[in-house]
């Protein structure tokens, strides 16, 4: 069954959305959209690093993604203006990554696979990595779920309950780095943040509880992945962007009609 590239692509898309649904909900709730973008863009730099040093690409991506997250957190703690800082970091990371990749022989030609993903070329090993990463992220979020939600609602409330909001933020940062490494094959560095944010935003108007929103975001992500693949086959469009196009259409639909389900 896994010998069919379409089956592998479909499973990779569904597996990714298992992680991006719940994590994307936190990205939306905590207004980390730009942070997600910065981390995802930094992945290109990670790819360049890995190729230059013969490390596995995933190791390079996770390393750089975590380095980016730590840089952002450090600057935020020093009181830097976050919107500007993230803007500078996100675009610089992408630019540095693209320049760095150009020094690595043979990569220039399939740069677009890293930028836009190549879900139709997902191997069995890639598929294992996607599902493995998704399960790790899901387990991490499930383990910290109550604490994460409390810290997201109000950091002082979490503190007073004996939780450490900084530790919970670190959990999300690690989860984000893993998701970036997992998602780059599927939707590409440029659209990872979209895969996090668009399904979660579409789920918002259908949901009355955080858990419902995470579940709807997962479902919408999976439907978008399958729909995007279908669109890609049918119209010969690039698969990664097609997935986001479907998710955006779902968002438009729930934003327009979803309010009627709300109390």
């Amino acid at each position: 069954m896994l010998d069919d590239f379409l089956t592998r692509a479909a499973l990779a898309g569904v597996g990714l959305s298992l992680a991006t649904g719940p994590l994307g909900s936190f990205v939306v709730w905590r207004r980390m959209a730009y942070f997600g973008d910065a981390t995802a863009h930094a992945a290109i730099l990670g790819v360049a690093l890995a190729l230059a040093t013969d490390l596995p690409v995933e190791v390079g991506i996770i390393t750089i993604a975590l380095a980016m997250a730590v840089t952002v957190a450090t600057l935020a703690a020093k009181g830097w203006a976050m919107d500007t800082t993230l803007g500078v970091l996100a675009h610089s990371a992408l630019a540095f990554g693209l320049v760095a990749v150009s020094f690595v022989p043979g990569v220039r030609t399939d740069l677009s696979a890293w930028l836009f993903g190549d879900i139709l070329a997902v191997s069995k090993a890639d598929l294992g990595f996607v599902w493995g990463g998704a399960v790790v992220v899901l387990a991490l979020l499930a383990w910290r779920w109550q604490a994460l939600l409390t810290a997201t609602l109000n950091a002082d409330l979490a503190h007073a309950s004996g939780l450490n909001p900084d530790r919970e933020r670190l959990v999300l940062t690690v989860a984000l780095a893993i998701v970036v490494a997992v998602a780059i094959k599927v939707v590409g560095a440029l659209l990872i943040a979209a895969m996090l944010i668009v399904p979660a935003a579409a789920a918002r108007s259908l949901s009355r509880t955080p858990e419902a929103m995470a579940a709807f975001a997962t479902l919408i992500g999976a439907v978008s992945a399958l729909g995007g693949l279908q669109l890609s086959l049918w119209q010969d469009t690039p698969a990664g962007p097609s997935i986001i196009v479907v998710a955006a259409l779902v968002f438009a639909g729930t934003a327009a009609f979803g309010r009627r389900f709300m109390a």
């Binding site: 109550q146 309950s161 009355r208």
Partner: protein
């Protein structure tokens, strides 16, 4: 016994000293109110006691295993996060439906458990925050300006609720406020703060202290009159049934009504 105490606590933000050599303690079952003008470090003191802000000097000691119920100054609810009252009450510890309903009834709310938190009025939200704090069976309730954004009847009602909670659960209460008269009427002890402890004692003692009067720009009789004015209202409402253990023998006749 002392539930929580601060010994010579100093807190600095950047170079500025926000709290200087603050010492205080809260005993089992008492209601202590911290009053002070804006920027006097009231919220910072609570946050230092809760361990949220680091101490530059001094120490905070808690009774072993102390359970604290915290009601924050406000809960900024992001529209992107859907959450019902029922779900909110189960954070961070999951509670049974029966326990949640009981906590809501305790604070005088019924039929709100399926409402979105964002749909609550200011008064309802404060009561839900209090209900959540009560679910951990706290020995100490910490409230940071709990009546901000409430109108006067709402404010008075909320403080009556606090006294009632203390009377039925025996929990001590430590709260911060900048409104004076209603709070002082409901407190056993008042601590007047302005970066350091200016004065402390029963409401009656504090309201007559020169430091307190200077801090709030009050004349020779203003605060006492305000304080006793609030008492007059309570007495007018029925039999004397509240649980103050401050001087009950003061003469209400000496209170001057100061409104025009």
């Amino acid at each position: 016994m002392t539930l929580i105490e601060a010994n010579h606590v100093c807190v600095r933000f950047g170079g500025a000293e926000v709290l200087h050599d603050v010492s205080l303690g809260v005993e089992r079952g008492e209601i202590v109110t911290i009053v002070g003008p804006n920027g006097s470090g009231k919220s910072t003191l609570l946050r230092a006691l809760l361990g949220i802000v680091p101490l530059a000097q001094g120490e905070v000691r808690r009774a072993p295993g102390l359970r604290i119920g915290y009601v924050p100054q406000r809960l900024a609810l992001d529209r992107s996060l859907p959450i019902t009252v029922r779900r909110f009450l189960s954070l961070p510890q999951r509670v049974s439906a029966a326990a949640a309903a009981q906590a809501l009834a305790r604070v005088g709310l019924t039929g709100v458990d399926q409402l979105q938190m964002a749909a609550l009025s200011g008064g309802q939200l404060q009561r839900v925050l209090l209900a959540r704090a009560l679910l951990s069976s706290p020995q100490l309730l910490v409230l940071d300006e709990p009546t901000q954004g409430l109108d006067q009847p709402g404010e008075a009602g909320f403080y009556r609720l606090i006294e009632d909670v203390r009377a039925t659960t025996g929990a001590a209460v430590l709260m911060v406020s900048h409104d004076l008269h209603v709070v002082m009427a409901a407190s056993d002890r008042v601590i007047c703060l302005n970066g350091h402890v200016c004065c402390e004692g029963t409401p009656r003692v504090v309201s007559q202290a020169a430091e307190y009067r200077a801090l709030f720009g009050l004349g020779t009789q203003g605060a006492l009159a305000l304080y006793q004015h609030a008492h007059d209202h309570e007495h007018a409402g029925g039999p004397h049934d509240h649980h103050h253990d401050h001087d009950q023998t003061h003469t209400h006749a000496s209170g001057r009504h100061i409104h025009a």
